[in-house]
Symmetry: C2
Subunit: 430 residues, 2 copies
């Protein structure tokens, strides 16, 4: 039977919106937002898109009018009553009332701020100026919109069965990865794939497949909307933007050297337990751990991001051992461009020596590689980073020079202050 009402209602859609909820974002953005809200809410910052795969001319692939329509639609969204209720009433990481009522009250009134968009050399220059608490919330929806518009542009014009088989192949690929994951003892893995996903519905499918396929070994998703709808855990840690802004605010080298630890000091005022996972690589992991205060040893774990995962894990073990902690009680979260073979390799290497968690992102939610002959469905490395804070440029160095960001002179100063030596560049896939 035809559902007449649905058919007629569907005639009213002006666009097919990519972002349909302010909860369609990563959980760690909300955790960071609360920390920002308490301390730096009005600080003026600038976020900007950067395509680290410049050979891909996104502005030739995606229509500017469609991009504006999607960004404008995202700006029309407000937290719904049910969404606010979920944030207030749900328990996160086993804790109730993770978010203070001042913050959720503010979030209920929030809309995404204006954006600036222009085309340059086949790329979109998309920037967000304004208070940190507002602009920070653009990162994930802006990236998700760009990535999904790129998928849609590629899929446009394909036949019905060609499309169905494309998704059949993608489903098979994800499921075969899940079948390999099932064999890993004591697995704990989460979906971190919101920002560079193929599309919302596809991420939602991947999460459900992980739920069914992995059961308790699937920890949850970073996507708040999917976590709410599928009744799984919302998970996340924290990101480079915190030390990048704190460091930009430092007035001299001595303050700069302390800035990354100040982030963590603030963070542990706000959160506890499994949320006490440090991200040590913003200005080089080795120096960060060497100079880390003793209280960091009490934290639950470390996220290993831009460094080779085996090397990064070994370094973490050495760090905990040198501080008298048992690494087997510590958590290492691996999260940089992981695919199934990386996860297997890391697991074989570290299982039994550490508590291990995986944040599986782009190659869970956007692995359409080789399905189109011209790579047009391959994921690209596109980021949305804070580039300026209070009028000063931000700097990121990380453990992989391919991911460095900031004016050259500032990068050199940071390297000196943080004692960053020679680094081996590694390719950035996603």
């Amino acid at each position: 039977m035809l559902d007449l009402a649905t058919r007629v209602y569907n005639h009213n859609f002006r666009i097919d919106p990519i972002i349909r909820s302010l909860l369609d974002t990563d959980f760690y953005k909300l955790l960071m937002a609360q920390t920002i809200f308490r301390r730096h809410r009005d600080l003026p910052v600038t976020f900007g898109i950067k395509n680290r795969s410049p050979a891909i001319r996104i502005a030739d692939e995606i229509d500017e009018g469609e991009l504006r329509a999607q960004l404008d639609h995202a700006r029309s969204l407000r937290l719904t009553r049910g969404e606010a209720t979920w944030l207030r009433g749900n328990s996160f990481y086993g804790k109730r009332q993770m978010f203070a009522s001042e913050f959720t009250d503010w979030l209920e009134g929030f809309r995404l701020p204006p954006y600036e968009l222009e085309k340059r050399d086949g790329q979109y220059v998309l920037t967000f100026h304004g208070p940190w608490i507002e602009t920070t919330l653009w990162e994930v929806p802006a990236l998700a919109i760009l990535n999904e518009l790129r998928s849609r542009a590629t899929l446009n014009g394909m036949g019905k069965f060609e499309l169905q088989v494309l998704y059949a192949r993608a489903m098979t690929r994800v499921w075969e990865k899940i079948e390999r994951l099932k064999r890993l003892p004591d697995l704990s893995i989460a979906d971190f794939g919101t920002r560079r996903r193929h599309g919302f519905l596809w991420q939602d499918w991947c999460v459900q497949a992980m739920q069914e396929g992995l059961g308790g070994a699937f920890l949850g998703t970073s996507n708040c909307l999917i976590a709410q709808r599928r009744e799984v855990e919302a998970v996340g840690t924290n990101a480079h933007e915190l030390p990048m802004v704190y460091s930009a605010l430092a007035n001299d080298d001595a303050a700069l050297a302390k800035a990354p630890y100040e982030v963590l000091a603030d963070w542990q005022q706000d959160y506890e337990g499994n949320l006490l996972v440090a991200l040590p690589d913003t200005y080089g992991t080795t120096g960060f751990l060497a100079d880390a205060p003793d209280w960091l040893t009490a934290w639950t774990g470390i996220r290993i991001d831009s460094k080779d995962p085996i090397e990064g894990g070994e370094e973490a073990i050495r760090f905990w051992e040198s501080r008298g902690s048992d690494p087997r009680e510590k958590l290492a979260i691996f999260s940089d461009g992981l695919d199934i073979a990386d996860i297997e390799r890391i697991h074989a290497h570290f299982h039994g020596r550490l508590r291990i968690g995986y944040g599986w992102g782009t190659l869970l939610t956007n692995d359409f590689r080789r399905f189109m002959p011209d790579k047009r469905l391959d994921p690209i490395s596109i980021v949305c980073k804070v580039i300026e804070a209070d009028g000063r440029p931000t700097v990121k160095i990380s453990d992989n020079p391919s991911k460095a960001q900031g004016p050259a002179a500032e990068v050199e100063r940071y390297k000196r202050v943080f004692g960053v030596g020679e680094q081996a560049a590694q390719p950035v896939l996603v």
Copy 2:
């Protein structure tokens, strides 16, 4: 929006019927039925199921109550007005009014006759006794019911995503075959996969995928219901039951030797053009062609079934050449357990030397091989054959002794009458 009416209506289903229309059968059954209707409609015959994969204990896999419910439901069906209209108004093989009004009038009043069912040694003994015109129409629905019930029994209890990925894998497999078929020049291929299909909806999917993927190289489907709904050609030839019954009716060896040609003489009174495709292997292709009357040379082609396809095609070419015909104007239809590699091999061998058609059956509509570790979704070789006509046993020899059927003494007599020598057995997959 929820379609309340659909949800509530669905509560009324007692079973999920496998056969929902009398048109859900192979087109050649209707062609043969019309020939039977005109000449032998009341001849008492017996059809029986034979599982040529006896290691598969179907009666342990399929519940008897469910089997009876499905067979009973098929018996409740009548041709609908629109279905009768399609038979009357559609053109088949370019010809209007393929079916005489006496036949379609009769078919409108037809219901499938009673069946007899018992279990023996892990198999179902399912037989149909009665007038040839009625019992012949059980073959395809009975097989489709047994095969789909077997699929359902295996899929029962699987998770939602496990199921989705199973179908994703099957879709990918079919599509990859279609992509290989696209590369074959002058391809002409049809779906012959009704009887041993995984399920009706799956066959319907396969036909649509062939439509989209192959365009004009997809000739059509043997399934009348799908041909009607998807507006593609209904295609088919004729089957062993005609010469088997005609031969059983022969009163002596001389009459027996003529029987297979009498079938064709009757057939060409009823049909013309591309329907004049002879099936020469019932009692051995070599002898059949050697003794064939000259008028058979004027026929459009030959279906190559139980013989090795390369050998069978070469034999057909020699036959036409020996009778002064140009094989490039003749049609060879290959149809025995074909998979993509067979089709490619046959095409590479014969393209340019013959007009070629492929009747692609089980390995189009039921290739779920290796998707389950215990082969429970692999297709089996199950047939429904006429075993008795007018109180006498029927005999089939074919070019592959693994497919022979009938009492040993009768088989020996037929071999003598038709001059069948040594035959090499080939495995029967489907």
